[in-house]
Amino acid sequence: MVEHTSHLFVISIILYFAGSLFALCFYGWQRVGNYISLILAAIASCFSIATAVVALSDGLTIRLDFTVYHAIIKYNFLLDPVSTYFILAISVIGFVAAVYSIGYTRLYVNKCDTRFLGFTYNIFLASMLLVVTANNAVVFMIVWELMTVVSFFLVIYEHENPANMKAGFMYLIMAHIGAVLLSVAFFIMFAYTGTWDFGFDDFRKVGSHMPLIYKNVVFFLVIIGFGIKAGIFPLHLWLPMAHPAAPSNVSMVMSGVMIKTAIYGFIRFYFEFLTPCPPWWGVVVLIIGASSALLGILYALTERDIKTLLAYSSIENNGIIIIGIGLSMIFKSYNLMALSSLAMMAGLYHLVNHAVFKSLLFGCAGNIYYATHTKNIEELGGLIKRLRVTAPLFLVGALAISAIPPLNGFLSEWLIFQSILNGFHIPSVIVKIITIICGAVVALTGALVATCFVKAFGISFLAMPRSDHAKKAKEVPVIMLVSMGLLASLCVFLGIFPVKVMMVINSVNIHLLNTNILPAITSYDWLHTKSVQTNFTEISPKSATVLGLMLLAVTFGVLTLIKPRFVKKIYETWTCGISPEPRLEYTATAFTRPFKTIFSNLYRPQSEVRTEYSVPNFFVKSMTYVSDVAPIFEKYFYSPVAQFVLSMSNMVRWVHTGSIHIYLTYIFITLIILILFVGK
């Protein structure tokens, strides 16, 4: 069994690379090359889905060791339940995105080289799979860098746009700062392994005998290193720039799963390498998660670019996942293993949920862009009548992300709340209080998410079109809709049948935390199917759905009995006597205006009204209203850092003379010093 599963995984990796090479083969036929590579990516994803399903259902742990003769680096890969869970998420989204891309890349035909998209896309997926399976620090860093570089190329795919280049550059710099910090963390831990392998298996033994001070250093290095990838505040700057810059099919994968590799890193480090952790680590992670969640959604709220809005919302959702991880760490450090598993389950459940609905939303944003060539929601409107299938799909995504029952977002939010409630088991009062305040933050965040997505859906899809782009929109190719339909049905499935997912996560928990809470958190409901329960209560989304449908049938029946012929007359909207116009509609800016006023300390809103008069100063010719929020993180966090780096660079500038001989001298001196150092 282990043999076959490992073969499946190797086949899928080979297929990915084959797909990327095929893309380059078809020199003249760009479209064919692109299609073949995407189809191969889809097939490869099916193979890795199969790997994950088989491995998770049997709880297998698979080792793949490629012994290269006399190699310094040991190419070890490990598919334990943690890895396979991430493989499942990555390959499901990878599959859907590949199918979606077949339609979406038509947008770039004759504009950009679509073969290149296929090439990088395949490597990107493969590198993510390798990141979550690497079992050696060196290999991990190599594939981590590969993932970063490949996704950088995807971000700057439309490199004619200078904004995209800037976004990509920012991404590259920040990702590399993160990578440097991670390597330092690995090196510090390596000093205590006592071997030269850099293997994760050695790191797993390091936690018990490493001095606490170094553990703390590693903790912070890791939280910043992976935090940059996860987009936690205030390290989020690249995320809302890079995700919108990338093509939508890539943003799906980046937002859906790539930023989750950081969560994978957190889990590996804090639950395997650095154990046992002191409680305050969990508290730090929890606070970081909560503040990212709140700030992420507050920035998403005022956003008018639909993809930037979704990117900010990814920060928010990552924050919620990190809340789950942080709670799990806290419970674990107090040795409350069952609760730790519950919180981990909440976090990992939200992880897969977010992957599904965020990919769905990015896909639908891609559909909007495909149909209207704009991402500004102020220019949209009325799309529900033009994109008849995209609209309900986007609505499902918006409902799911707003945690509306019975869709999947609700279940993970519910589990998060249950874990937070169980915080009363924590012995320390101050930690308890922080936990419950995080509960309040999650509640506020949930309400703000609903506002944000009501705005996103309502302004872009409802009422009248606000521009010609929106007026002329036509529905996108079927294949894009089918792939999005797949995700939408997944949203419904994951929401109504939670026990299936929880079984999968439970096998992760058994591996990671050595506790099996599945029997404790499932029960049978009146339909004699499994529902979820905790020590506080139980919940059965299935029965709620069934009740809702029954009540709908009854209501409809009664209403038809009362008045069999119900006539709907169609008139235009009453707007106090003038005929309705798009200019009269509420805009996205206006919709979130109350929030700008309430949270003015954060937003520092700046607005300006310019009025132009015609010749006699009585008639207004035109009025312009400009309003924006001040980027306080750029102003108070990034600018000082950038200033500091610039001034430091100025100080060492004299080293760069421009003469090649001087440079050779530097190298020579370094070499001599190294030889002396080693010889000693």
Binding site: G382, K385, L399, S402, I404, P405, F410, W414, L421, F424, V429, I433, I436, G439, A440, A443, L444, G446, A447, L448, A450, T451, V454, G458, I459, L462, A463, D525, S531, N535, F536, T537, E538, I539, S540, S543, A544, L547, L552, T555, K563, F566, V567, K568, K569, I570, Y571, E572, T573, T575, P580, L584, E585, Y586, A590, F591, T592, P594, F595, I598
Partner: protein, 314 residues
């Protein structure tokens, strides 16, 4: 088994049947206190009957969202009425969900109502929707934390369990933390149901309304369903408040006589609280829109103090 079928039906009938009366009662008392005669207590029923008989006018800019919303709103409130203990603390369907599900089902109804307000393309609707989202977002943390306080006191988030535990062990109710939670929840209830210091349910003046603004374009059956849902929401929130903090009189089991007594006491309790709402509405003016966060901030702080005092003193 029969009781398990009869009780949910009874519960739906009580909530659906009496919710317009609560609204009518509040209006009537308010009118009497303002030295007016006021409309009959049964006026909301007459309105509903009239509206159900009428055809509807639908805006040409609107889409299927507009036509689906009244049903979705109504159904989500109906599901809630199955989950809340009304007459008996033992709700047969209580395994379906807990207080968090109830809060999010209200969110479902609100989500669609606000979408509809944007659907017709009228600026009034958008204004109402935007403000509704603001008020509910500000109210959400206070609501969740106050319910958490209750849940932590009795170790359950299931309303049936909460009510029966508090009924059998009333000394738990003499808990200062619960008093704070009760105060916070009262403010939240007033905000959520759009009563006076926050929103004026009687006005149709465009610039001041919140909830009514979203319902401007509904007519006929649609308006009836939405109106009915909003009065059911008022009754349900009152019921939750009453049955958590004053559970006395609610039937513990499913006996006939118990249910009769429970019903009588339920009417008295709801009547009393409706009267309190009237008093609040009479003694305050509607506050400015941007003062609402202060009010709800107070509620939030009360709720957070509730949890903290529970944790520290426990």
């Amino acid at each position: 088994m029969t009781a398990e079928i009869i009780l949910p039906i009874l519960q739906i009938l009580v909530v659906v049947g009496f919710s317009p009366l609560v609204k009518g009662f509040i209006n009537k008392i308010e009118a009497r206190l303002q030295c007016r005669r006021g409309a009959s207590m049964f006026q909301p029923y007459y309105n509903l009957v009239k509206l159900f008989r009428k055809d509807a006018v639908v805006s040409e800019t609107s889409s299927w969202i507009f036509r689906a919303t009244p049903y979705i709103t109504f159904i989500s409130v109906l599901i809630i009425s199955l989950l809340v203990p009304v007459l008996s603390s033992q709700v047969p369907l209580n395994f379906t969900g807990d207080i968090i599900l109830i809060i999010y089902l209200f969110a479902l109804a609100r989500f669609f109502l606000v979408l509809t307000s944007l659907d017709t393309g009228s600026a009034f609707g958008g204004m109402g929707g935007s403000r509704e989202m603001m008020v509910s977002s500000m109210a959400e943390p206070a609501m969740i934390l106050s319910f958490f306080t209750v849940a932590l006191t009795v170790n359950s988030t299931n309303l049936s369990n909460i009510t029966s535990t508090l009924l059998n062990n009333s000394i738990l109710l003499l808990n200062p933390s619960l008093i704070l939670a009760f105060a916070a929840l009262t403010i939240v209830l007033i905000a959520e149901t759009g009563r006076i210091p926050v929103d004026n349910p009687f006005t149709h003046l465009e610039l001041t309304m919140i909830h009514e603004g979203m319902m401007l374009e509904f007519s006929g059956r649609y308006l009836a369903l939405v109106e009915w849902a909003s009065s059911m929401k008022l009754l349900l929130l009152l019921t939750i408040l009453v049955n958590i903090f004053f559970p006395w009189g609610i039937a513990g089991g499913l006996t006939f006589s118990g249910l009769i007594i429970a019903f009588a006491l339920y009417v008295v309790k709801i009547g009393f609280f409706a009267f309190l709402i009237v008093i609040v509405e009479m003694s305050f003016a509607k506050i400015r829109l941007f003062r609402i966060p202060n009010l709800l901030g107070t509620a939030f702080i009360l709720s957070i103090l509730a949890v903290i005092s529970l944790y520290v003193v426990r």
